[in-house]
Every structure is written in C-alpha cells, then in structure tokens.
C-alpha cells in the first residue's frame, strides 16, 4: 500500500531538483507554467478521466480561481496566502453549481461538453464586460516582492510552491483512486445503471467529482494569477486552458495518476519546441503552430494510443518482457 506512493515521491523529487540545474528565467517560467497547466489538468482528470464526464469548459473554474485570487487581493486587500484557498473554494463552488444544474438535467457526453463550454463563454463575456473584474483592460496585481505577499525574488521559489500543489494533487488522486469514492466514480463512468443497482448514488458521486475537479483547476488558476500578476477575460476564461486541461490527461493517460503531469510536460514541451523550431525556420514567431501540434497529437492519441503515453509505455514494456 505504501509503495504505491513511492513513484509520486520519486517524480516530485526529480521535478524539485530541476531548478538547481538552470539559472535561466525563461526555463523556470516555462516549468512553472507547465506545472500550472498540469495542475489544471489533474483537476480535469478527476471528472473526465475517472468520472468519464468530458468537460470542454474547465476555463470556467480556472478563470474563477484566477480572478478570485487577483480580485481578493486588489479589491479587498486580502493576503494572497488566504486568497489562494478562498479562490480555490470559489472555483469549487462554481463547479458544484454547474454540476448540480447539468447532472440533475442528466446531461452527458456531447451535451455535457457543450454546456460546460457555454458556461465558460458566459463567464468570459461577463468578466470582459464588468467593471469589477477590470473589464477588457484586465486586472493587474501590484508588484510587491515579499514572501508574506507570495511574491518571491527567486523564480525557483514560486516553482516549488506550484510543485507542492502538483504533488498534493498527485497524492490526492492516488488516494481517491484507491478509496471507495474512486471505485464508485469509475463504476459510474463504466455503467451508471449498474452502479446505481449496487447502491451508488450516481448524482452525488458526479457532484463530488466535479466539485473536487473544479477546486483543483481553480487552484491552478489562482497560482497562474499570482505567477503573472495580470489577467484578462481571454486569459482567465479563454478556451486555451479548457483545451490544455483536457488534452494533457488524454495524451498522458486518461484516468491515471500521472497522466495529466506527463501529458502537460510532453504537450507544452513539444509546443515550445515547435514554436522555436518554426520560429527559426521562418524567421519570427508564428502564432498557433504549437496548438496545431496539440490538435494532431490529440487525434493521433485517440486513434493509436487510447490509453495515452503511459498506456503506450506499458505496452512497450510488456513487449520487451515477453520471452522471444
């Protein structure tokens, strides 16, 4: 039982020493950003991977966490260390509300995907139009570098903070997968009717899953706000994060503990490499090429690696182990 947490410890240890090998701010920024996406994807994976409910609108939760984090500081003067958990709770509440509306209406499959997408768009338009959120100009968190203000002189410190959250996400996912809730969630994914026959309250299970899922993604949004200290509606509630939170687990391995992390690192690494390579070849940045690569990866994964890179890895290991 304890051994199942060992891979998590090793992975986190490896990620923790990465900043020691570089002093490049670009690299550290990239790594922090990749881990924030990984965390958002861990949230998506609870609902989408374990629960089988594909949300196309996790931006609604990411954005609520991000705006919550920024506005609690800017408008209410709340300390970021308190604002972060509050923003997480706000995201979870939004998730619970959207879940209650859509799961009670028995939406699933494409319809659930569509309704989450629409909710995210509503939030984006509102945030863009409302003065309280800074409207189209966005919201700026004042720069005040102090540990008590969750702003650090050394970029590695913030990276470690994000990593701690990712590690907590890994442990939480692993604990959930082994607990009764995880078993029931997977049962609902596989066959809702059969699960109900076994005493599983499928609505309650799905609601818990979306609440947990949206809370984790909102935490990622809060960290994003604190990392970049600037938000607008297109960043916080934009479709980019809905897409990346969904792609990472699918590419890494749907419904697995490490899938979102592996997927996010591979996805963003490849995206970055494509941008750099094409930028060199064409003499300037080309917007969108990284996302073209993401789209191709998504289709390739669905077609050839339904269990993601981790599943592919397991297959390769099995082939190698097979006696010749």
């Amino acid at each position: 039982m304890r051994s199942s947490y060992l891979p998590i410890a090793i992975a986190v240890a490896v990620l923790a020493v990465l900043p020691l090998g570089t002093s490049s701010n670009t690299t550290l920024n990239f790594l922090s950003f990749a881990l924030i996406v990984a965390l958002a994807a861990q949230g998506w994976n609870i609902l989408g991977g374990y629960g089988g409910q594909f949300s196309f609108g996790h931006a609604a939760f990411f954005g609520t966490g991000a705006y919550g984090m920024a506005l609690l500081q800017v408008r209410f003067g709340i300390n970021p260390w308190l604002a972060l958990p509050l923003a997480t709770l706000m995201g979870a509440a939004v998730g619970a509300a959207i879940g209650a509306l859509s799961f009670r209406a028995r939406l699933r499959g494409s319809y659930f995907a569509l309704v989450t997408l629409a909710f995210a768009e509503v939030f984006r338009i509102l945030a863009n139009a409302w003065g309280f959120t800074g409207g189209a100009a966005g919201v700026l968190v004042p720069l005040r570098i102090e540990a008590a203000n969750m702003q650090f002189a050394d970029r590695a410190t913030f990276y470690w903070l994000v990593l701690a959250c990712v590690a907590a996400g890994l442990v939480l996912t692993q604990a959930m997968a082994r607990a009764r809730f995880g078993a029931w969630l997977v049962a609902v994914r596989e066959n809702e009717e059969a699960a109900r026959a076994l005493g599983v309250d499928s609505l309650a299970v799905k609601l818990r899953a979306i609440t947990l899922s949206s809370g984790i993604t909102a935490l990622a949004g809060g960290l994003y706000a604190q990392k970049f200290l600037y938000l607008d509606a297109g960043i916080a509630y934009g479709s980019w994060i809905s897409v990346e939170a969904l792609l990472a687990p699918i590419i890494g391995g749907l419904g697995t503990v490490f899938g979102p992390l592996v997927g996010a690192l591979v996805l963003l690494g490849l995206g970055e490499a494509t941008k750099i390579a094409l930028g060199h070849a064409l003499g300037g940045a080309v917007p969108g090429v990284d996302l073209v690569v993401f789209g191709v990866l998504l289709i390739l994964c669905v077609a050839f690696a339904p269990r993601g890179l981790l599943g592919l890895g397991a297959n390769v290991r099995r082939l190698l182990r097979r006696p010749v």
């Binding site: 768009e121 479709s239 969108g288 073209v292 998504l298 077609a303």
Partner: protein, 290 residues
C-alpha cells in the same frame, strides 16, 4: 428614426442574420441526424470556408457569389474525405472519441489559419457591399437579403435531396437504422462521408453568402458554432425545419438583445438560451438519440 423603426430594423437584421445561422445549423443538424454525433469542427470549417472566399477574391479576383458552386463542391469533397479517412478510422466507432477527434480537427484548422493569416481581421470589398433595398422606412442591405433568400434555397434543395433522390433515401435509411441499411446493401461508411460532405458544403455556401457583408478572423467560427449548436438544440436534433425556425429565432434574439443590452452583453443572450434549452429539455434531446 422612430423607436418602432429601430425595433423593426433590428428585427429585419436579426431575421437576415438568422437565415445564415440556420444555414450553418443545417449542416450541423444533418450530420447529427445521420451520424448521431456533434461535429465540433463545424465552426472551424466555416472559418476555413470564409478564408477560402477571401483568398478567392483577394488573390484571384473571383466574386463570392461566382465562387459559390466551386467552393461548395470543394468543401463537399473535403468533408467527404475527412469523415471517410480521418474521423471514421480514428474514432473506432466510439462517440466520445468522435467528440475528441472533431475537437482536434477544430484546433488544427483554427490555429493553422491563425498561423497562415495571423489574427488580423480581414474583409473583402465588393461593389454591392453597401447597396440597400428600401422597404417602407427600412433600408435593408442587398447582400443580406441575398443571404436570406440563399439560405432558404439551400434548405429547399437539401430537403429535395433527402426526399427525392436515392442518395437521400439511403441517408435517411442510415439515420434511422444503420444496421438494417447495411444489410440491404447501403454502404454506411460512404453515406456517413456523403452526409459530412453535405454539411461542409452548407458551410461553403454560408461563407459565400456571408463574406460580402462580414469579416473573417481565425476565431470567427467560434462565434457561429455555439449559435449553431443553440439552434440545433432548440429546433430539435436532426430536424431541417427546426434548424430554419431556430435559426431565425436566434438571429432575432441576438439582434434585439444587442439593441437593448449592448454589443458585448448581447452575445450572452445566446449562451443563456443555449444553457437553458439544454437544461430544460434533456429528455427531448435524448429522445432524438434513442
């Protein structure tokens, strides 16, 4: 202008825009009715079609209305090939896979267009772009009227195709009972691809009708795609008259809420209707599936 005239003008504009929405929704509802899937790449395909019209005009000097038959044929062929050789094989017949594959296609198309054309908004200049027809106190844009009429013509043609031709009969057979259709010799994969091609051709027509008065940027399809989804859900999945009436209704709602709530909040009306319709009518939706 009198308040009543402003209202009537907003109504008329809403109806004309709504007809184009209906055309976009027709493609979506047709694909849904036959393949029972929601094509998430629909919006990006529309964007691609609009860029095709733009390029035809800007680089080759072809008028959008003249480009219509050619582009419709090209998009039919592209839609056919994508369904036959990409979506079909990649999704292994699983609904949530189709959802993901079409999402992937939409990401690829949208961002390839972004890479190719950058995020600038572009439009084309045609001599009749600003010509109007005077009806009472209202001045109606001629190209929008053409788009209005054109949408109904396409809907009528589509209906004739489904009702009167062998291909149409095969499409309806596959929509109702694909196993049965396969047993009597209908090539289901072929019919799926034809349906997908027809959906894409509808978008090419919509693009040709839109471009004289509209602009294009890589994300423009998103604006249409949720509107089209709303229409399809409102009008009933798979229903052609439903798409037409739903399209006109949504066009009017958008135009009026834009008038009374302002441009940016006006869009919200669409999404709220969409969410409400989805939440309130789930049994109707699944009824269409069963």
């Amino acid at each position: 202008m009198l308040p009543l005239d402003i209202f009537l003008s907003a109504m008329a504009n809403g109806l004309m825009m709504g007809a184009v929405y209906a055309l976009v929704a027709l493609g979506l509802t047709l694909v849904y009715g036959v393949l029972h899937i929601i094509n998430f790449a629909h919006g990006a395909t529309l964007t691609a079609a609009m860029y095709a019209v733009y390029v035809a005009h800007a680089a080759l000097g072809v008028d959008p209305y003249l480009a219509l038959p050619g582009l419709a044929a090209i998009f039919f062929a592209l839609g056919y090939m994508v369904q036959r050789w990409v979506i079909g094989p990649a999704s292994h017949g699983d609904d949530s896979n189709i959802l993901l594959v079409t999402l992937g296609l939409s990401i690829i198309m949208e961002n390839a267009l972004l890479a190719g054309f950058r995020s600038d908004t572009r439009s084309i200049d045609v001599p009749y772009g600003f010509s109007v027809v005077e009806v009472g106190n209202l001045f109606l844009s001629t190209p929008k009227l053409v788009a209005f009429a054109g949408s109904f013509v396409v809907a009528a043609l589509l209906w004739l195709l489904l009702a009167r031709t062998d291909t149409g009969r095969a499409i309806r057979a596959v929509a109702k009972e694909k196993t049965g259709a396969a047993l009597v010799g209908v090539r289901v994969e072929h019919i799926y691809a034809v349906t997908f091609g027809l959906g894409a051709a509808c978008l090419a027509v919509a693009a040709c009708l839109l471009m004289p008065t509209f602009l294009v940027n890589p994300r423009i399809g998103n604006a249409f795609v949720l509107v089209a989804f709303t229409i399809v859900v409102l009008g009933g999945m798979g229903s052609i008259p439903g798409a037409l009436i739903g399209g006109l209704f949504v066009g009017v709602v958008e135009s009026l809420s834009g008038l009374y709530l302002g441009e940016s909040l006006g869009q919200i009306g669409i999404f709220l209707i969409f969410i409400l319709v989805l939440l309130a009518r789930p049994t109707g939706l699944f009824g269409a599936r069963a």
